[in-house]
Amino acid sequence: MSETPVLRMESVRKSFGGSVVLRGVDLEVAPHTVTALIGASGSGKSTLLRCANLLEEIDDGAIWLDGEEITDPRADQDAVRRRIGVVFQAYNLFPHMTVLENITLAPRRVHGVPRAEAEARARELLERLGLGGRAGEYPDRLSGGQQQRVAIVRALAVRPRLLLLDEITAALDPELVGEVLTVVRDLKDEGMTMVLATHEMGFAREVADQVCFLEGGVVLERGTAEQVFGEPRQERTRRFLRRIVEAGRL
């Protein structure tokens, strides 16, 4: 990779109490690419994303964003988070705010964008994601798929350098998964750099430029989607994919 990677992780280690979740993870994400993190539940996919956004403090190793080390204790954490958008599995919309307020909160309060401008951009994004009429609604009046799309708009509203998607379809009814994945597909076409933890193997295979299989706290196998899904090198990757196929998820 000649270009500076948007995100780079080196020997990242993270434990909670006695249990070690990440025991030395290396990762590189090139600009305008999509990286899919796959692996069993509890393999550390979500933790990895939370570490990348500094929501968790890592025990060891280092993380760079656009070539700048963000795990340096002197780095401004708020400034780092401003450049990274996150979409959570459980949406985490703010229930006391309307859709529009959810989206314009960060642009207005963090980036100092004037209200009218922030709202105009929010409405434009909502329109693009098929949520044009929902700006004044409260999140609990929306379906899961709509809430998740609002959460994506909220993350995009600050024009992040990198988008982290943490199992964003895991809490959705099957018929609502498609509408959310469509949005991710469109974002890829626009050149957004994304890292997504997912159980949707078919989707990972389709959109990901790079697939990383996490197991036992390390990236056990990495490669193009074709390689990891088509001819996995590691026995454990093969076993994991076989289980997924048996469960009818691929």
């Binding site: 956004n53 929501l55 708020d78 400034a79 988070r81 401003r82 990274i84 958008g85 996150v86 959570f88 459980a90 985490n92 919309l93 703010f94 229930p95 006391h96 909160l105 960060a106 309060r109 963090v110 980036h111 994601l129 098929g130 409260y138 999140p139 609990d140 009046r141 379906s143 798929g145 709509q146 909220r154 993350a155 600050v158 018929e175 609502l176 998964v177 498609g178 509408e179 994945l181 469509t182 078919g202 989707f203």
Partner: protein, 297 residues
């Protein structure tokens, strides 16, 4: 898998030409009959209970004397305007102390949730404050402040029993209210703070825009409950000699040795708190309904 944005699912709630079935009508008739019966039983049992209570009190051996000293119409009429005049002081105390309590309580609650070593002394101070003033009986707090502070003869410190009494009330109640706010802050799920931080909001901004608005909304019923309680405890400032509703009654009792004015003052307080209590119930019920409707609160 792929869905066009145009055909994203929307549920339809259009009216149709539904006619209730006989089964539904029968069920509803049965329920109405049962409701009527329940109302009748309720009314009857209330009547019987009331009658029994009345007979027991009226036939008590000391009733004639009690009636004279506690329920004298003449004294009641004399006391009522004075008590009402005094009540104005209670109402003003409630408004001023209530506002002060909310502000101070919020500050203490926020101080207790601050993280980081810099805030350690502030956290300890806030915790000590709530522990102390929640444990200290209000009446003792009042005596210390209202009677003790003037005894110090400090320059520039007020001797006004109303101001001092209000201060004591604020001290105690802000400790209660701080705990209510703190419970509210802690009840907001950590994922909300995580979402706020991931958007780049600072800790303070996350608290201000995301955590506190949700915390306060949830704590409205218990807060109103504390305000109702504060409302009647404003009557305690009378121990310092401030002429509120209780003290106004006291003055007449001291002169006449008839206790009717106390009953009048008591009823006036009850009359004042009832609207507040009903309002609290109404707010609580409304919030419960909201919660039942929408999942995330």
């Amino acid at each position: 898998m792929t869905l066009d944005k145009g055909e994203l699912a929307e549920s339809s709630g259009e009216p149709d030409d539904y006619v209730p079935s006989q089964r539904r009508l029968d069920r509803e008739r049965y329920r109405r009959a049962r409701a009527r019966r329940a109302t009748a039983i309720g009314a009857l049992s209330t009547l019987v209970t009331g009658a029994v209570l009345y007979l027991v009190v009226v036939n008590a051996p000391g009733w004639p004397r009690t009636k004279e000293t506690f329920f004298d119409w003449g004294y009641a009429r004399e006391a009522f305007p004075k008590v009402l005049e005094g009540l104005w002081l209670n109402v003003r105390l409630l408004l001023v102390c209530g506002a002060a309590v909310l502000v101070l309580g919020m500050l203490i609650a926020v101080a207790r949730t601050l993280r980081g070593p810099v805030f350690f002394p502030l956290r300890v101070l806030a915790a000590a404050y709530t522990d102390f003033f929640r444990g200290l009986p209000l009446i003792i707090n009042l005596m210390i402040v209202v009677l003790g502070v003037p005894a110090l003869r400090l320059q520039g410190v007020t001797l006004d029993p109303v101001l001092l009494g209000g201060t004591a009330l604020t001290l105690t109640y802000s400790a209660y209210v701080a705990e209510v706010f703190r419970a509210g802050i802690e009840s907001v799920h950590p994922s909300q703070r995580a979402a706020a931080r991931s958007l780049g909001l600072s800790n303070r901004q996350a608290l201000r825009y995301v955590v506190l608005p949700q915390a306060v909304r949830r704590q409205v019923p218990p807060l109103l409950n504390d305000l109702v309680s504060l409302q009647k405890d404003t009557g305690l400032v009378s121990i310092g000699g401030a002429v509120d509703a209780v003290r106004a009654a006291d003055i007449i009792v001291g002169r006449s040795l008839n206790y009717t004015p106390y009953i009048v003052a008591g009823l006036v307080f009850v009359a004042l708190t009832i609207p507040m209590t009903r309002f609290t119930d109404w707010v609580t019920a409304r919030m419960d309904r909201r919660r039942a409707q929408g999942g995330v609160t």
